[in-house]
């Protein structure tokens, strides 16, 4: 009979236990942390978040909301890849919110406004996404699950507001609130991390000194945004598509 190498058995046993602990423990730990935090509570449709943009207050030449969004969501941390042309890179880097100036074809009246994801009730991007990575939360926020986004960009084809961006390059640094990776699509998520932390505003609203951007709960009749909507005449962009957007504009 062959002699049993006890030392070797002990080593294998310890190694197996150590491996199991290394693999399982972080999961258990994370699980417990996640459960402890209030953000683990399911989002409900008791609220519907949205924005009201008062274009009469939006200042010509001001870009504060864009800069604030870039900083909040780490978009300003993305650097132009070495060797990329400036002109092309401008069109390839992500943009969650942008300023647009339009002129009425009949009257010539000019209007400034920020445009971002309109957080539709019936979002075309969610309809077309093959994997369900593009999804709408119960609270009305439309966003991308970057774990299941395969980078097919069909949502970008489908969005009537050109609200989505594709990450064209390797990501060197990012914020913890807006993780991103090469080859995925992303867009404005109404600073979703702030929702989960119980904050009551978005970065763009905070940055707008003119008060042109108002964030709030569209379902709460006493919220500032609901009261403003009740008073003002507002429109949806591409209202003909009947998407029931969560972002409304006044003064257009």
């Amino acid at each position: 009979m062959q002699k049993v190498d006890q030392k070797r058995r002990d080593f294998v046993s310890v190694a197996a236990k150590a491996t199991a602990a290394t693999v399982v423990a972080p999961g258990v730990f994370l699980q417990s942390v996640a459960q402890a935090a209030p953000r683990a509570e399911p989002v409900t449709d008791d609220v519907r978040y949205g924005l009201l943009i008062d274009t009469t207050k939006c200042a010509d030449g001001c870009n504060d909301c864009v800069a604030a969004c870039d900083q909040e969501n780490g978009i300003d941390q993305l650097l132009k890849p070495e060797g990329a042309s400036d002109a092309l890179w401008e069109q390839q880097k992500p943009r969650w919110i942008r300023k647009v100036k339009v002129q009425d074809n009949l009257t010539g009246k000019q209007t400034d406004m920020p445009v971002m994801c309109q957080h539709c009730e019936h979002p075309p991007c969610v309809d077309v996404c093959p994997t369900g990575a593009s999804f709408r939360r119960e609270d009305g926020i439309v966003m991308v699950d970057r774990h299941t986004c395969i980078g097919c960009r069909y949502c970008m084809m489908a969005c009537p507001y050109k609200a989505r961006s594709f990450i064209h390059e390797n990501v060197q640094s990012k914020t913890t609130v807006a993780p991103r990776g090469k080859g995925c699509v992303e867009s404005c998520n109404l600073c979703v991390h702030r929702r989960d932390n119980g904050e009551k505003s978005t970065a763009c609203q905070d940055a707008c000194s003119e008060g042109a951007i108002l964030f709030g709960d569209l379902k709460d009749p006493d919220s500032k945004i609901s009261m403003a909507l009740a008073e003002k005449s507002t429109v949806q962009l591409r209202a003909d598509l009947k998407l029931n957007t969560g972002v409304r504009y006044s003064g257009i």
Binding site: E90, Q91, K101, V126, P130, G151, C159
Partner: protein
């Protein structure tokens, strides 16, 4: 009509291996291109946040559309009972599979996250036509494989009509799905038309048959097998009719658009002011539809092999140009976000004063697309070398039931 004999492709070893080496080299270059894009990210392509689908999609969609069309030849034989087409069925099925595989590979390698293909295979949103297409494509491969088996295994021959019928229905649904990728897009002026689905089906008829004719003539010529005038006459007339149908659908699509004022800007962009897109559009209509029709129905040119080769090449090039216009121009044209208003400033390329977005394809994108064609051809040549896909002869006395 004599009994049809099928034999493996018997060209000489050096010819065969030489051919594979050339195609292999093209595929290797395409592989490196895909790796280069995947490693760096899409910034090395001409694609942007405005034009999100580039040249790889043009090739991929062309190949996928052509794949379903290549199956037509088999369908005409077994579903519609045209005896003359029966000997052509096996190659038709093989090309349907290889073209689809070539197209899908290009499509998958152009994903932002190609490594997450497993996610696409396991996580579905059934409201998405893309998700449906995954089933339609994979199902097509399986069904055509079974169809080929019923054609090639004598014991299974009685089932080939049923299999062929099923495959025919499936391919109609599949191309409807491919056309609907664009037809379902409400956001963009150039898409959002139910006509897209039947138009893609008719395009598939023409492109698939053009590819089929070229492969058939090339493989027969290289080995010295006989391709009779009767079969060529049938196939080239059929191609002419299919191309005429593509012309009809193209005309209806644009004339319908021209009737509605809301589409005038888009039509002006495609038909008159779109620069490269306008040039490609008219090149596809004149060079890819009218000219091949003229050749195919010309009393002398249409009967010559050179004429049919020329017409088929023109149909394919015209098809790629049409796809380029549909895919790229449809995105480059600015979205109608503010009706009755003109965008005069924007921080995100929304089309100031109605200007179209720019797109210059990079070499890597183009090479990846070409690689898809090379994969399809390589798989076809290996297939016909190893198995009996090709009939020994398609001479008039072999294929014509009424031949004296």
């Amino acid at each position: 009509m004599k009994k049809i004999l099928y034999r493996e492709w018997g060209i000489s070893g050096p010819q065969y291996w030489g051919l594979l080496a050339i195609l292999g080299a093209v595929i290797a270059v395409a592989g490196f291109s895909a790796l280069y894009m995947e490693h760096n990210g899409h910034w090395v392509t001409g694609m942007t946040n405005q034009v999100v689908w580039g040249t790889p999609h043009v090739f991929a969609i062309f190949l996928i559309v052509a794949a379903s069309g290549a199956l037509n030849v088999a369908s005409i034989g077994s579903v519609f009972g045209q005896k003359m087409y029966k000997p052509l069925g096996r190659l038709s099925g093989l090309l349907a599979i290889t073209l689809l595989v070539g197209g899908l590979l290009v499509l998958v390698l152009d994903l932002g996250q190609p490594s997450r293909l497993i996610v696409a295979m396991t996580t579905y949103n059934f409201k998405s036509i893309f998700a449906w297409n995954i089933y339609l494509y994979v199902g097509f491969l399986a069904i055509v494989a079974v169809y080929l088996f019923t054609m090639m295994e004598r014991k299974m021959n009685p089932y080939s009509r049923a299999a062929g019928f099923f495959a025919f229905i499936w391919r109609l649904i599949l191309t409807t799905g491919t056309g609907s990728i664009f037809g379902f897009l409400v956001a963009r002026q150039g898409y959002d038309a139910a006509l897209m689905a039947p138009m893609f089906i008719v395009m598939s008829f023409a492109y698939g048959l053009a590819v089929y004719l070229l492969v058939l003539m090339f493989t027969f010529k290289l080995e010295g097998r006989v391709l009779g005038d009767k079969i060529m006459g049938r196939l080239k007339n059929l191609l002419g009719v299919f191309v005429a149908a593509v012309f009809y659908f193209t005309a209806v699509y644009h004339l319908t658009n021209l009737y509605g004022t809301e589409n005038h800007a888009y039509e002006a962009f495609i038909l008159r002011d779109g620069g490269i897109y306008t040039q490609l559009f008219w090149a596809s209509v004149i060079g890819g539809m009218l000219l091949p029709m003229g050749i195919l129905f010309h009393p002398a040119l249409g009967k010559s092999h050179g004429g049919v080769i020329g017409a088929s090449v023109l149909v394919i090039l015209g098809g790629l140009a049409s796809m380029y216009v549909i895919v790229i121009a449809g995105q480059a044209f600015p979205m109608a976000m503010f009706p009755d208003k003109t965008i005069i400033e924007t921080g995100f390329f929304d089309g100031v004063n109605g200007a179209a977005a720019g797109y210059i394809p990079s070499m890597a994108e183009f090479l990846l697309g070409i690689g898809g064609i090379a994969i399809a051809l390589l798989a076809t040549f290996v297939g016909i070398r190893l198995l009996r896909f090709l009939p020994m002869s398609l001479a008039d006395e072999v294929v014509d039931p009424h031949h004296a």
